[in-house]
């Protein structure tokens, strides 16, 4: 008896029927669901990690852009990598469902290893240490540029300087100053953040003999965000 006849007998004797349309659709849906769950877990994990970093460091303005770019980049890399795997020479060996399960297993195993091996704790400690360092840096910068009595003042220009050349400035503590510049101020515009060196000449009046635009607006936003929180203001 040939293999074909053998199989036909088996089909008839065991009353074997092809899988129903419903089953075919369900199995396809289930495989995509597992796959989508795996991908979603990765994206959520990346999102939570990025959010934690931003939250821990209070780096809202300073690093949110690079972090978001990094997260988006990571997602793109993942998608490209995934496409590459699916289209690779070896992928034909995997059934879609098996691959989806494998991916999910890999994510779960990765999470377990990440926690059990102590890598998660080490990363947390490193994060806390860096956070302290970052806060120290922020405080030092703030203290220096919030010392008008020592000749250093920084803040946001409230209006474009006009003749006579005085302008108002909101400093890092949100105090309003009248600035009397002794140098050219054509380059300053409303909303600019500037660093001034000079001296106090009267109540809320500062004479500036050196004015610079703050290099990197993000630093100012960082300080602004940092010192506008109530507990830090009390210091």
């Amino acid at each position: 008896m040939s293999v074909s006849e053998d199989v036909l007998n088996k089909i008839k004797n065991d009353n074997v029927k092809p899988y129903s349309n419903l089953w075919v659709k369900f199995s396809k849906f289930a495989s995509y669901l597992v796959l989508a769950t795996g991908i979603t877990m990765i994206i959520i994990a990346a999102g939570i990690a990025a959010y934690n970093v931003i939250e821990s460091f209070s780096l809202v303005s300073m690093i949110i852009v690079p972090v978001l770019i990094a997260v988006i980049f990571a997602i793109f890399v993942f998608i490209i990598l995934f496409q590459k795997i699916v289209k690779s020479d070896e992928f034909y060996k995997f059934a879609r469902f098996k691959f989806a399960g494998f991916l999910l297993g890999l994510i779960i195993a990765g999470g377990i290893i990440w926690n059990v091996s102590g890598a998660a704790k080490a990363a947390d400690i490193a994060l806390q240490e860096n956070r302290q360092y970052c806060e120290t840096m922020k405080k030092a910068v703030y203290v220096k540029w919030s010392s008008p009595e020592e000749g250093y003042l920084a803040g946001e220009v409230q209006e474009k300087p006009v003749s006579p050349q005085t302008f108002t400035l909101k400093d890092l503590r949100r105090h309003i100053w009248t600035i009397q510049p002794l140098v050219e101020v054509n380059f300053i515009d409303r909303g600019n953040t500037v660093k001034l060196q000079g001296e106090i000449t009267g109540p809320s009046v500062f004479r500036a003999n050196h004015i610079d635009l703050w290099e990197g607006k993000m630093w100012f936003d960082l300080l602004d965000g940092y010192y506008s929180t109530p507990e830090i203001k009390q210091e």
Partner: protein, 186 residues
Amino acid sequence: MENSLENKTDEQLVALSIENSSAYLILMKRYEGKLISYIRRISGFAVEDAQDVLQDTFVSVYLNLRKFNNEYKFSSWVYRITHNKTISFYRKYKKRIVVAEEDNNAFVELLSGITNEEERLTQEVLADKVKSEILNMDVRYKSVLVLRYMENKEYNEISDILKIPVSNVGVLINRAKKLLKDKLNT
């Protein structure tokens, strides 16, 4: 009844097989010989083992008839399932598999696709060596060589069977030929 079924295309028989198992018998008979050869050529299985793989393949094909996509050729689909079953069977029972004697003519045919006129003079002598080298090759190379030169499949069919881009088929074939040639020259 069977005569009228004989004239149907593979794809028509697939549609009929869902309700009528006799139509499936015709379909199986069409491919039985070809698939047994294919299984043996890429695995080196003895006839009995190849028949086991084929039986498993046919049952699997029958169960999944509704999954068949009419955009592809049935032959590509059935070769693909056979290929996967063979690889899986090979991995599972590697230790107990006995490499079988295969008709050398097929390997001579393969050889003619990769050697020049002068080299063909010694083809018969080389056939045994070719067979053993092919069986020892990586499954990717082995599969493309067998499909192209022994099963006479086109690049797009090989692409469908192995689920690799058509552009990669040519690359794989060239690499496999070079590899085989190098091995034969050593």
